[in-house]
Symmetry: C2
Subunit: 347 residues, 2 copies
């Protein structure tokens, strides 16, 4: 009734009359110029035949490496993060690594808890989207605990670290410009009250554009907890009531836009005739919405690829000098009917 006893190097050694050392060398491809071809062949064939795989706990105990990477996302059930996770997973597996996922919910306390859980727990590297106010903890993790850390989706200016992020400033700038080019002149930014770099940069990108176009600023910042709530809707609603001249909105995130669309639907606002809309982050809902919503789409495969390959390469080079891995990727504006494609600016 018990699982079959797993075969070990020792068993192979006995069976083949070859020492454990030799077998270990062969398994770890360190046999070059050391072990005779016949022995290698013999061992490899036998391993193949009995389907031997090394006990990873023993390897891990011995080497101090666990072949495990933790991906601490803001929310792993969010389509953006789960898509990233899935892409990374495959590449990681192909390289013999496992990934463990968890979600911070953008809560500092939760992130600390999770980090604690993994601390000194044979995790080779962390890929983290730090929550609000986590700068000091990240610095500690990297510079005091000397963990291998890749920061995702945001970054800090106060210290050097590895990261993979979107060029949020440029994306927001271009999106704002596109609203303008579609004929809208009273452009609003609906964002989040946050110090996280993507949110800050999206706002800055909006600001840069309206300044260079000499437009008036209309901006509303919700609290993080309000993004998906009735409370958030109320704020958006009264914001729009207060500035009825607004004819274009850039939403700083997909959840924000979804909540905003509910408000507009309730108000029976016609899109794009009365208000043109662009949101950050693609979601299938935007394509199917009536009318379809224009978005700044993030290059998910590229982001995931850079993240995992970058992390893996850091892990490789950890023996040598510590390099720094920093990538800023471009997004793509996908224009849809939520901005009048046929009415170019008539300024």
């Amino acid at each position: 009734m018990k699982k079959k006893k797993k075969i070990s190097i020792k068993d192979i050694s006995k069976e083949l009359g070859i020492s454990i050392t030799t077998i270990s060398f062969i398994i770890n491809k360190k046999a070059e110029n050391k072990i005779s071809k016949e022995v290698i062949k013999k061992v490899e064939d036998y391993i193949e035949k009995v389907g031997y795989t090394p006990n990873s706990s023993a390897q891990s105990l011995r080497t101090g490496k666990s072949k495990t990477i933790v991906f601490m996302a803001e929310d792993i059930s969010d389509p953006f993060f789960s898509a990233i996770a899935k892409q990374m997973e495959e590449i990681a597996f192909d390289n013999g690594y496992k990934i463990i996922y968890c979600s911070t919910e953008n809560k500092k306390e939760r992130a600390i808890e999770l980090l604690d859980l993994f601390k000194d727990r044979q995790v080779d590297a962390f890929i983290i989207t730090p929550p609000e106010g986590f700068e000091e903890e990240m610095k500690k993790l990297i510079y005091e605990q000397h963990q291998t850390v890749m920061v995702f989706d945001r970054y800090y200016k106060s210290f050097e670290h590895n990261y993979v992020v979107l060029d949020n400033l440029r994306c927001a700038k271009d999106a704002t410009r596109s609203l303008y080019d579609s004929g809208k002149k009273q452009l609003a930014f609906i964002g989040i009250n946050s110090e996280l770099s993507p949110i800050v940069h999206r706002y800055e990108g909006y600001l840069e554009s309206i300044r260079s176009l000499e437009l008036q600023e209309f901006s509303l910042m919700l609290k993080f907890e309000e993004i998906k709530t009735e409370q958030g809707r109320k704020k958006i609603s009264s914001f729009l009531d207060k500035y009825p001249q607004i004819d274009g909105i850039l939403f700083a995130s997909n959840n924000l836009a979804i909540n905003g669309l509910r408000v507009l639907k309730q108000k029976n606002t016609r899109i794009p005739e009365e208000i043109g809309i662009i949101s950050f982050d693609e979601r299938d809902i935007f394509e199917l919405y009536s009318p379809p919503i224009s978005v700044v789409s993030q290059p998910i495969e590229k982001l995931a690829g850079e993240l995992i390959k970058g992390t893996l390469s850091l892990l490789q080079s950890k023996a040598g000098k510590s390099e720094i891995y920093q990538k800023t990727l471009e997004g793509t504006l996908i224009p849809r009917e939520s901005i009048s494609l046929k009415n170019p600016a008539s300024s």
Copy 2:
């Protein structure tokens, strides 16, 4: 520059002048009636102070348990599975377990590859949504390799196993009935050509309802690969052209419904006036669609809770006799404007 050398039981032993054995007992809460309270207190305080955590690789090597559970989902980036994953994660962590996720894409070969990857790799249990045609492999995994396996979202009749599933038959039956009650009489089922139990049972539920109502059957089964594609849309489109009398559709999955909605949008079919719609599986898109789409919603928290708690309890009892854990949960029909709520059946 290297990580701080981690503290071990031996270090504590030296520092406190207490044997390794005693310390291990205390850590593992096996100290009751064996170790004096003063010693326990002394050790616990010291552990607290230096922040000692046991090396999990060593524990794993010694005990043969890894405190790791693999969740092999159909597609971890699907909102349904990622929501389940997130819920399970937390409970697992609280119980000292890690979860590793992967996606089969409903491909048998991929699932075999993944299983191979984890085989004998110190995984304590598997939570699996088996792909098409995986019955024999599942049987082997459970009855030859004696792994602890929880099957999710589907189940087999040919052998006993642990599972957590939705009561798909009843849900489909009720949904079909609701379409009828909303005044529709020519009810279609759009499903998938699959032997997986949920799909089969949803179809059977539909059949049972229309038979008891003495209605005509209209059904279309797509191939799995067509669900999200243009090819699928074409099939749905010509199906609807062929049977213009259809005035109600039950979609067997959310992706199917999303693709179906595209077809209906293109055809300018009015929902619910011309065709009433109900889909399986809640997604935020359904609530925001114009009109909002009625769905059979799965109890995600409950499902995730049963899955992980069930698995954990199997792991506990593994020492004793092997029990069987089988749960069938009810779904909830959420009626929205895609069925005429105000026009009750006038039969």
